[in-house]
């Protein structure tokens, strides 16, 4: 009832204070997540060094074979986008939910959207760092040209992040407990990276596998990254890739929001 008695300017000032607090809260949470990320070496390794290790191994195998390197570098970049967002968020959110951290945070004044923004920001930072490292390694170590179209590179990475981050959150809703999280995540992640042309040109795969890959987002992300980094086809040549990624992103966001649970499954 006291809310009704507030003068309009006071109410507006309160709203402003809340929005400032939102940014501060999200930023604080983001910094905490970064700190914790580096304190957990195994998580840091699997989320961070694995794609770089793959790049080094395949780079060594395909050394001097430029055509193969031009497939593998954007392929690993696409895989890195998926692992840092989809896999990492599915695992993280399952863990936070089942361990009760989500519920505990939900009982505090921290705006829950600011909390989730901090967690997503942490994942996206890993994406940006990995794509940057892969791009630099592709040019400096493997002798590829620098990306042909930076705008397209940024656009596809951003769209890939939105798509795979929301799908990762959506997948976490289906995972019943943290022990089974790696199995669920890898049951999706491994087949998808194999059929989507991370390690070879997906257009050379058998028809059925190619058809499945065409329906999934990762192949289109890799096509877009390949156009941006290697062929210079840019954005215009990849309208279909943009469309498929956008559709998956919409589906991912709807599923991520719908099934969201703050409470552990066991209760």
């Amino acid at each position: 009832m006291s809310e009704h008695a507030l003068d309009e300017p006071v109410r507006r000032a309160r709203a402003r204070r809340t929005s400032v607090r939102w940014h501060q809260a999200a930023w604080r949470q983001y910094r905490l997540e970064r700190k914790m990320f580096w304190r957990n070496p195994s998580a840091a390794f699997f989320n961070f060094l694995l794609p770089l290790l793959f790049l080094a191994l395949f780079g060594a195998i395909f050394a001097e074979r430029e055509a193969d390197l031009q497939v593998i570098v954007p392929g690993i970049a696409g895989m890195a986008v998926m692992s840092t967002t989809f896999s990492a968020l599915a695992m993280t959110l399952t863990n936070l939910r089942e361990s009760g951290v989500l519920k505990r945070v939900r009982g505090t004044p921290l705006p829950t959207s600011a909390y989730l923004a901090g967690i997503a920001g942490n994942a996206i930072t890993n994406t940006a760092l990995q794509v940057a490292l892969i791009t630099v390694a592709g040019s400096l170590v493997f002798g590829l040209d620098w990306p042909q179209d930076w705008d397209a590179l940024v656009l596809f990475v951003v769209l890939g992040v939105i798509c795979f981050a929301s799908l990762g959150v959506a997948l976490s809703h289906a995972i019943p407990n943290f022990d089974s999280a790696p199995a669920y995540v890898n049951a999706v992640f491994l087949p998808v990276i194999f059929i989507s042309g991370v390690f070879y040109d997906a257009d050379e795969a058998p028809g059925l596998l190619r058809g499945i890959a065409e329906a999934l987002p990762l192949k289109h992300l890799i096509d877009g990254l390949s156009g941006a980094m290697v062929t210079g086809e840019g954005i215009g040549g990849h309208a279909l890739a943009l469309l498929v990624l956008a559709l998956w992103a919409v589906a991912g966001i709807v599923l991520a929001v719908r099934g969201f649970s703050w409470d552990a499954r066991r209760s």
Partner: protein, 286 residues
Amino acid sequence: MNTDVAIEVEELRKDYGAQRAVRGISFSVRRGEIFGLLGPNGAGKTTTVEILEGYRERTAGRVAVLGMDPGPRPLALRERIGIVLQSSGLYPHLTVREAVSHWAGFFHAPRDVEETIALSGLEAAAGRRTITLSGGQQRRLDFALALVGDPELVFLDEPTTGFDPAARRQAWETVRSLQELGKTVLLTTHYLDEAQALADRVAIIKDGAILAEGAPGDLGSTARRYRVAWRDAAGAVHERETDDPTALLHELTGEALARGDSVHELSVTQPSLEDVYLELTAEAAE
């Protein structure tokens, strides 16, 4: 709205599908009071508390927590309550001090971080990562995180379940210190001695209904009868309940004296709150 009342619950109901978890309970908690919801597992204690904390929607009834409806989880309410859940995880790679300090940042007017750590008895562990804490220490950290916002009202859901006796005593001291700070505490427990030791008033809850309510001492006296037990000359043990044992004792001792014998293994006991609790919850189970 009565400002002396921290929590008011009227005819609260909660159904999970066909299951009726809470069946129209009413109680109120005064400011500065430690109120205990005592009952066996599955009685509806946690459901009730989680409705008051804003975690669950109620099916029917009226609820006011610090004068607000917790249903829409108003920010103004979350600023003023502290919650210790039955079990809740922590970030394993933060130190105690980092966790308390981060939590303090959620609130407009938090308590001092070091003071909160001291109040919770965690000074010695302040620099340790939470993953290395013992069960009792993690529970203290739960307290610290619930207290760092300087709440007026603290919810404690089964705060000592799984504790060894020493850790329970320490947790009880912390709860008592909350009352000394002027906080209101709503405590759930299935331990009778805990309710007796801590609560100013207790509601015994079973199958989603309140069976009895009052100060722990009064609850015992409402059903206060005497139990007289003895062994007769033939060696059989007898036990009888009575409102006034005077006549019975006179009879027993008179008979024994007449035989030139004595009354063997004579005892006269009064039921404790525990007997009342067991009696009430057992009746409800039938």
